[in-house]
């Protein structure tokens, strides 16, 4: 076996010295500027909120669902490998009822106006919060109900996958079923 040349990349990431939870030993990977830049520019070039006629990259909306799945599956696969190399095991399954698995996060980051980024402690329980901060009850005000909304929407997606039909909008008061595939 040939001798290998080793390279040392001096890194100065922000939460390297925290030891809040065992996940922090992966901070060399999660705080990597390159991978965060990749995700940012990916969402800049192929944003999920723009329809086809407004997108500014040619063919940005072609096969966008597949591309979405591919990107996230690759990111998760690499993360899983990093976890395995640090003896941490599989990515835990997210259950909204239980206190969130002890993986808090403390971004040591700050906004330009001086406020810190919000910190999430280990072992929190998620719930709805019912104050609206004066927003109207549209998409902004609905963020307070995220807990029930996320669970309901996940259940609907799972039902759609298992049953094989989705409810589509024909006119604002008349929703129909549409069979989109036959389960095997």
């Amino acid at each position: 076996m040939n001798s290998l040349t080793g390279f040392t990349v001096p890194a100065n990431y922000s939460s390297y010295h925290h030891r809040v939870n065992p996940e922090q030993s992966l901070a060399y990977y999660t705080e990597d500027i390159g991978i965060n830049a990749l995700y940012f520019y990916y969402n800049l070039y192929y944003p999920f909120w723009l329809p086809e006629e407004q997108s500014y990259v040619i063919r940005a909306t072609e096969r966008r669902g597949e591309r979405y799945y591919f990107l996230h599956q690759q990111l998760l696969a690499r993360y899983y490998l990093e976890r395995l190399s640090n003896d941490l095991g599989e990515i835990p399954y997210l259950d909204y009822e239980q206190p969130l698995v002890g993986y808090g996060y403390q971004p040591s980051l700050r906004y330009p106006n001086g406020e810190d980024f919000p910190v999430r402690p280990n072992y929190v329980r998620l719930s709805d919060y019912f104050y609206n901060y004066g927003h109207k009850f549209s998409s902004e005000g609905r963020y307070g109900y995220s807990y029930t909304l996320v669970q309901a929407r996940e259940r609907r997606i799972r039902d759609a996958i298992d049953a094989g039909f989705i409810t589509t909008v024909r006119s604002p008061n008349f929703w129909t079923k549409q069979i989109f595939y036959k389960p095997f």
Binding site: P118, V150, T167, F184
Partner: protein
């Protein structure tokens, strides 16, 4: 189907199925103030372990969907008249 989960404008019924990404990020970000948490900015979201927790579920949706589709028929996979040559 992928458009439904991602809730892009080609989704058939966004107010019924959509928004899993946005609300999931807000919920797991655990911010009781008005400023968005680290999960809600795209450039810091990969740092948070809850990103991977949330997206594991989404990737599992896709995989269970693909597991339920019919297998490919032979004529969809094979081009007739294809031969490979050894050069």
């Amino acid at each position: 189907m992928a458009d439904l989960i991602e809730s892009n404008p080609e989704s058939r019924n966004p107010q019924y199925y959509g928004g899993l990404q946005e609300y999931g990020r807000h919920l797991l970000g655990y911010s009781y103030q008005e400023d968005p948490s680290a999960l809600e900015h795209f450039e810091t979201s990969l740092r948070d372990p809850a990103f991977y927790l949330l997206y594991k579920k989404i990737v599992l949706f896709f995989q269970s969907y693909k597991a339920r589709l019919q297998p490919y028929a032979n004529n969809e996979l094979v081009y007739p008249g294809n031969r490979s040559f050894d050069s």
